[in-house]
């Protein structure tokens, strides 16, 4: 870790209006994530973990406050600008993998590259490299239904990595997997963090999973109750 800041949340509030009620999820929240960090976010259901990832990933906007990424504001971008920003800077990994069931593993991994100017040959080369990285080079032409949960999640990791983003956001990436498979995936995330310098924010319920991270944040009622800012 370089100590340089990748993400900074300053006085971020997030409220949802539901009918007459306004639910406050975050009230003047602050957070700094340095480049190369691997943060586990834990907390009870409904504490706002997913909402936090949405804000970090630019798929939701704060009601108040500022979010900077690599020194630039992202909370002021338009929807179209955000889409492009996400394509370049963020890789998403979901609990249920979210692969396209009608596309092969290789075509799934290729998706983010279709938003770049790479030609067909270059795309294929990169897809092969990403699939080898997650140990699925032989499965390129397989469809999601022909793969185990762990394999599908590895395809999803390859998809998240393919456009070489600085930040990986994982929402319960092992929530649907057995212990052994979960450990494989977590080891892979740890490798990506240590060897490739990817900054990772991972939401999890599993204390074992959190051990793979450099630090753990506990979220409760919209606040971090325990902060370990030492990397």
């Amino acid at each position: 870790m370089t100590g340089q800041t990748l993400i900074h949340l300053q006085d971020v509030s997030k409220r949802f209006v539901k009918g007459k009620d306004t639910i406050t999820i975050f009230d003047h929240l602050g957070l700094t994530i340095p480049v190369g960090d691997f943060v586990a976010v834990m907390g009870p259901s409904g504490s706002g973990k997913t909402t936090l990832l949405n804000l970090l990933g630019g798929i939701d906007q704060p009601t108040e406050g500022a979010i900077t990424f690599d020194g630039a504001r992202v909370d002021t971008l338009t929807e179209g600008q955000l889409a492009r920003w996400r394509a370049h800077n963020v890789g998403f990994i979901f609990q249920f993998y979210n692969l396209m069931p009608t596309l092969s593993a290789a075509r799934n991994v290729e998706l983010p590259l279709l938003l770049t100017s790479f030609g067909r040959a270059e795309r294929r080369r990169r897809v092969e490299a990403a699939l080898s990285l997650v140990g699925l080079a032989e499965r390129a032409s397989h469809y999601p239904r022909e793969m185990s949960g762990g394999q599908q999640q590895r395809v999803a990791i390859a998809r998240a990595l393919i456009s070489d983003p600085k930040l990986l956001l994982c929402d319960e990436p092992t929530g649907d997997l057995d212990r052994a498979t979960a450990d494989e995936i977590l080891a892979m995330l740890q490798l990506l963090n240590r060897e490739m310098g990817k900054t990772i924010v991972m939401v999890t319920h599993d204390p074992e999973a959190a051990k793979y991270a450099r630090r753990t944040l506990h979220l409760d009622k919209g606040r971090f109750t325990e902060r370990d800012l030492v990397a």
Partner: protein, 405 residues
């Protein structure tokens, strides 16, 4: 190029997901297919009808009827008028030097369609249809050089003998060579079957003028005069001649124009029945298409949100969903065209012609232009049925990507 890749892959994802909603998708295809089949059946009928009537008229054959009569049925001309036309300019003369002018009688008689015959074969109980009995003399045959006697022979003048058009013979009961036919109060014998270039005349019965006049009490009266012209341009001379003679208050047109006008009136009518019915049904198919596409969008909500997460635009989801709907409706359109083609193309039917009040036998024709209209209607249903669901697809919140499957 980038935008194209993006839209192409979302379209592929949408179209490949069709089998996941197989039955809903199939029902949309079938509903659209049904609409197109109904429309095309009407349009093929109109096209076939038009083709038969259009094929009837010759440009160098004048037809003369009482002024304002519009159709042979309403017309009356006298023997004297016919004689005056024999002396008119522009009228072609036959090899024997006689002008090719044929005064003709036009009588509506009853006959039974094969399709209307009851199961027990009892002719008396069967509903009757109107058919045309044309009375003509030797000149009537001389003015129609395309006439082919395909069975038997011509009628002998002065006898109760009939010639039957090929189409009528196929479509009606008891019109074969040697059959006895009761028309009015007299019995007639079929002695010949003729073809005449697939024209409406093939839906007629022909007999000798004096016999028809006698049996139907129409002495010295005809309905029309056919006159073969030296050339199509000679019509003008004939018209001038008729206009300058107060005894000749007749409308003069070419047979081609006369039948073309009749064709467009009746086929307009068929189309005016077909389109509203098809459009009413199209609304039903549209409801089905909307339903299918909304459920498709709902089923793919997480996929769409995931793509948006990755950075795909709402536009690509919109176009992909629209493409899915268009593919389904196009399949329906093609299905409808194929069904129409298999079930109706070449099918012979007869219908009451609006202006002649007698049956005209014609063949359904599914021409490419007609089929195209069906496919276009299908695509309109697909476009509207896909548009609103596609709009919804484009607005699915990205946060749905986290939703449980």
């Amino acid at each position: 190029m980038r935008v194209f890749n993006e839209i192409a892959v979302v379209t592929v994802i949408c179209i490949k997901s069709i089998p996941q909603r197989f039955w809903a998708s199939l029902s949309t295809v079938v509903a659209v297919g049904l609409v197109v089949t109904v429309l095309l059946a009407f349009l093929a009928m109109a096209a076939g009808f038009q083709q038969t009537l259009r094929g009837t008229g010759a440009k160098d054959m004048a037809i003369l009827m009482r002024a304002g009569a519009q159709a042979e049925l309403n017309s009356g001309v006298s023997r004297d008028q016919a004689r005056l036309i024999e002396e008119a300019p522009g009228v072609l003369k036959g090899p024997d030097g006689k002008p090719l002018v044929s005064p003709e009688l036009y009588v509506i008689v009853d006959a039974v369609k094969k399709s209307a015959l009851p199961d027990d074969g009892n002719m008396k109980k069967a509903p009757k249809s109107n058919v045309t009995l044309r009375g003509l003399g030797p000149a009537g045959i001389a003015v129609r050089p395309g006439l082919k006697i395909v069975e038997g022979r011509r009628f002998t003048p002065g006898t109760n003998e009939l010639m039957v058009g090929r189409a009528l013979q196929k479509d009606f009961v008891g019109m074969n060579l040697g059959d006895t036919v009761k028309l009015g109060n007299a019995s007639w014998v079929v002695v010949g079957v003729f073809e005449l270039d697939g024209s409406v005349f093939e839906s007629e019965l022909w007999a000798d003028t004096p016999v028809v006049q006698d049996l139907f009490h129409r002495q010295n009266v005809f309905q029309s005069i056919r006159a073969r012209l030296t050339s199509p341009d000679a019509l003008l001379a004939l018209k001038d001649y008729a206009a300058n003679d107060p005894q000749l208050k007749l409308d003069v047109t070419t047979e081609a124009d006369y039948y073309a006008q009749q064709a467009s009136r009746t086929s307009d009518l068929i189309q005016k029945l077909g389109w509203p019915l098809a459009i009413a049904m199209a609304f039903g198919a549209l409801a089905g298409a909307l339903n299918t596409m909304y459920s498709s969008v709902a089923a793919r909500a997480q996929e769409i949100a995931t793509l948006r997460c990755i950075g795909f635009s709402g536009t690509s989801s919109f176009l992909g969903t629209l493409a899915e709907s268009l593919v389904l409706s196009l399949a329906g359109g093609i299905l409808g065209a194929l069904v129409t083609w298999a079930a109706f193309d070449g099918l012979t039917a007869s219908t009451l012609s609006g202006t002649t009040f007698s049956q005209i036998v014609f063949t359904f024709r599914l021409t490419p232009a007609v089929a195209l209209q069906g496919v276009i209607l299908a695509l309109i249903v697909g476009f509207v049925g896909g548009f609103f669901p596609a709009w919804r697809a484009a607005r699915i919140p990205i946060v749905e990507a986290y939703g449980t499957p």
